[in-house]
């Protein structure tokens, strides 16, 4: 198997793992490979990684493919062949796609058409449905949640800071122009002060949304670090204030931490949105002000019980915004005991977030 074909199969396999590898990256990679000693595994790995991968979150996928292809990595004589191939065909990009006649015995690649598939299939874990991921994948997803929270926080802050498109502050501009002989050298605009976001989160932690609640709790934990005014409540059939609780928990087991340390299980232990909402109304309704944005994470599967939607209606009338994040795809809404339709009129927006990518998108919209 010629080196170039082998590399080509390697690139193809990376793409199959949804690592975006562009032609210019392939060109850079080949160019870089000529500059290094292939006999050193670190050099070789680092060269491929730095030219082909541009985001740290792909590292795991990249490592897997790399292991599969270069376990018995290239020996010095192979490198000589590669160089002779290159000297004959100076244009790197063309030469990569060209089929070469050199066979330097590298064994059959297990890439395209081979039997070996990366464990977990070819999908990026971030795009996989919450309902269908393994515990191990869940951990790897959770690791990316703080980043997501940071991006969100950065976005909110950015919104607050843009001042340059505001109305001209005439008085200040004229005042400062006096020192330059009446010529307004510096323009001043009116600062607009935005209210700091006040966030209140209600999070379903029942078994039906197990994976999703792990993610949303991790998200709450991260958001609590970035926002000053944030309150969080968890529920199954009883609602409990968990603000600040997550700061002390093990990030890998937030859900267990909440179940142990907060009173979220009531009489039955089955999700009960109606009871939760009524309780919330009794105990915490004063927490909602005109400035509050209410975020609800849950699947609205109510085990055929009272929906208590009048509470949500009241929340809606008092809060600034109400958003609902539902881990189920739209096709499953209102099937079985899901009563999301009952709540929809009282939400400013209901998002379907079956995976992390969607969740991030929806969070970005608010």
């Amino acid at each position: 198997m010629p080196v170039l074909q082998y590399l080509q199969a390697f690139f193809a396999d990376l793409r199959e793992q949804e690592i975006p590898v562009s032609t210019s990256q392939v060109r850079d990679c080949c160019q870089a490979l000529l500059l290094i000693d292939w006999a050193n595994r670190d050099y070789f790995y680092s060269t491929l990684f730095t030219t082909l991968v541009k985001d740290y979150s792909y590292q795991k996928a990249f490592d897997e493919v790399f292991e599969r292809f270069f376990n018995e990595y290239l020996s010095p004589e192979n490198r000589q062949y590669f160089q002779s191939v290159n000297s004959e065909q100076p244009s790197h990009s063309r030469e990569v796609t060209a089929v070469s006649d050199y066979d330097i015995g590298m064994g059959t690649p297990m890439g395209k058409g081979g039997t070996a598939q990366a464990p977990g299939g070819k999908k990026n874990p971030l795009q996989q449905d919450f309902g269908r991921i393994s515990a191990e994948e869940l951990t790897s997803i959770e690791a990316t949640v703080p980043l997501l929270a940071r991006r969100l926080a950065a976005k909110f802050v950015k919104k607050r800071k843009r001042n340059d498109q505001n109305r001209l502050d005439f008085r200040r501009t004229i005042r400062s122009s006096l020192s330059t002989g009446g010529i307004p050298l510096n323009l001043y605009t009116v600062r607009k002060y935005r209210e700091k976001p006040v966030i209140l989160i209600l999070c379903d932690v029942s078994g039906s949304v197990m994976n999703f609640s792990c993610i949303s709790l991790a998200l709450i934990a991260s958001l609590e670090r970035f926002f000053q005014y944030i309150e969080s409540y968890a529920f199954i059939d009883e609602v409990s204030d968990i603000t600040g609780l997550l700061l002390s928990g093990n990030p890998l087991n937030f859900r267990g931490h909440v179940l142990r340390n907060a009173r979220v299980v009531g009489v039955t232990g089955y999700t009960n949105y109606g009871r939760t909402l009524e309780q919330f109304h009794q105990r915490f309704r004063h927490r909602i002000t005109r400035k509050t944005s209410v975020l609800i994470f849950g699947d609205a599967r109510n085990n055929w019980q009272e929906n208590g939607k009048w509470v949500l209606a009241e929340i809606k009338s008092q809060a600034k915004k109400v958003y609902w994040f539902n881990p189920e795809p739209v096709s499953q809404w209102n099937t079985g005991d899901s009563i999301i339709n009952d709540y929809m009129p009282y939400c400013d927006k209901v998002f379907a977030c079956p995976n992390l990518v969607e969740l991030e998108k929806s969070l970005a919209k608010i």
């Binding site: 870089a32 500059l35 050193n40 030219t51 991968v53 002390s248």
Partner: protein, 291 residues
């Protein structure tokens, strides 16, 4: 000795310890003349790598610190309006033609060069460090993209300024937002993570020459444990160096529970983090920091 080992040795003499993988990227950046995008958590030496590289190559370092609202006037160039104004007033009664005055005031003398323009008009090659690129907005990033691919800047009043020497470019990012694909494609990618215990020990001993190895080892080990905990801000390499230095100043030979409690403030900077660590230390009475 191959190129990577030479690079490693040079970086070491510049006060920066790097492994084979990092050395490879640096070597490739030099050989292929490509910008390097450095990502990683805060305090792992992203900025220091560019500084060390400029020492290694003995080229001047030009630094552009990015922040929210950074615009071209602050990054590229700006006309010195006040001087232009003074000049116009000064020549007002000298009967110069309008054209002459315009030529005067739009010449190099009235141009304030900002870091990006400076780096490409410099007489010798430079190392250009664009720090925290993720802080700027998309418009600026697009402008930067043009600069990084063509190494030229167009100033309407003067014309196109082309780089005489292509600078070595380092971009650092804390990944607070996704950078554009196009920008990432143009760069070699380098992810720096916190160093291994062994490497951190070496760093400590390099930065503080008279630090006893046993203390360096202990500090490296404890700092590593701290980073494993969920802290608001995990200790950076700079902080672990500070810590080791302060222990040395206090004349401590070993790091025990008491000493740690006394000097905790040099290594964790948030009140909540300190309280959390104190709680754990008082509970366990050792420095293993089990969660």
């Amino acid at each position: 000795m191959d190129n990577m080992q030479i690079m490693k040795g040079k970086m070491l003499r510049a006060g920066y310890i790097c492994d084979d993988k990092v050395a490879t990227v640096l070597y490739l950046a030099g050989a292929m003349k490509k910008p390097v995008l450095v990502e990683g958590p805060a305090g792992v030496g992203k900025t220091a790598i560019a500084q060390a590289f400029s020492q290694v190559t003995q080229l001047p370092l030009i630094r552009l610190q990015c922040y929210e609202g950074l615009d071209e006037a602050k990054a590229l160039y700006e006309w010195n309006y006040k001087r232009q104004l003074l000049h116009i007033q000064a020549v007002a009664n000298k009967n110069l033609s309008v054209q002459q005055i315009e030529e005067d005031i739009f010449s190099d003398n009235f141009l304030l060069t900002r870091p990006l323009l400076k780096s490409i008009t410099s007489d010798s090659p430079t190392v250009l460090l664009i720090d925290e690129i993720d802080k700027v907005d998309f418009e600026f990033e697009a402008m930067l993209l043009e600069l990084l691919s063509e190494f030229q800047i167009t100033i309407p009043e003067i014309g196109t300024v082309r780089a005489q020497h292509q600078p070595f470019v380092f971009l650092t990012s804390n990944a607070t937002r996704e950078l554009s694909e196009a920008l990432k494609r143009r760069c070699l990618y380098l992810y720096l993570d916190f160093p291994s215990k062994e490497m951190e020990k070496q760093i400590l001993m390099l930065k503080i020459p008279n630090l006893p190895p046993s203390l360096a080892e202990k500090v490296a080990q404890v700092v590593r444990q701290l980073r494993g905990l969920e802290l608001k801000k995990p200790p950076s390499i700079a902080e672990s160096i500070d810590w080791a230095a302060s222990l040395l100043w206090l004349g401590k030979e070993d790091l025990d529970v008491e000493t740690t409690l006394q000097t905790l403030t040099t290594v964790v900077k948030y009140r909540e983090d300190q309280e959390k660590l104190e709680r754990i230390i008082y509970r366990d009475r050792d420095l293993n920091f089990r969660a």
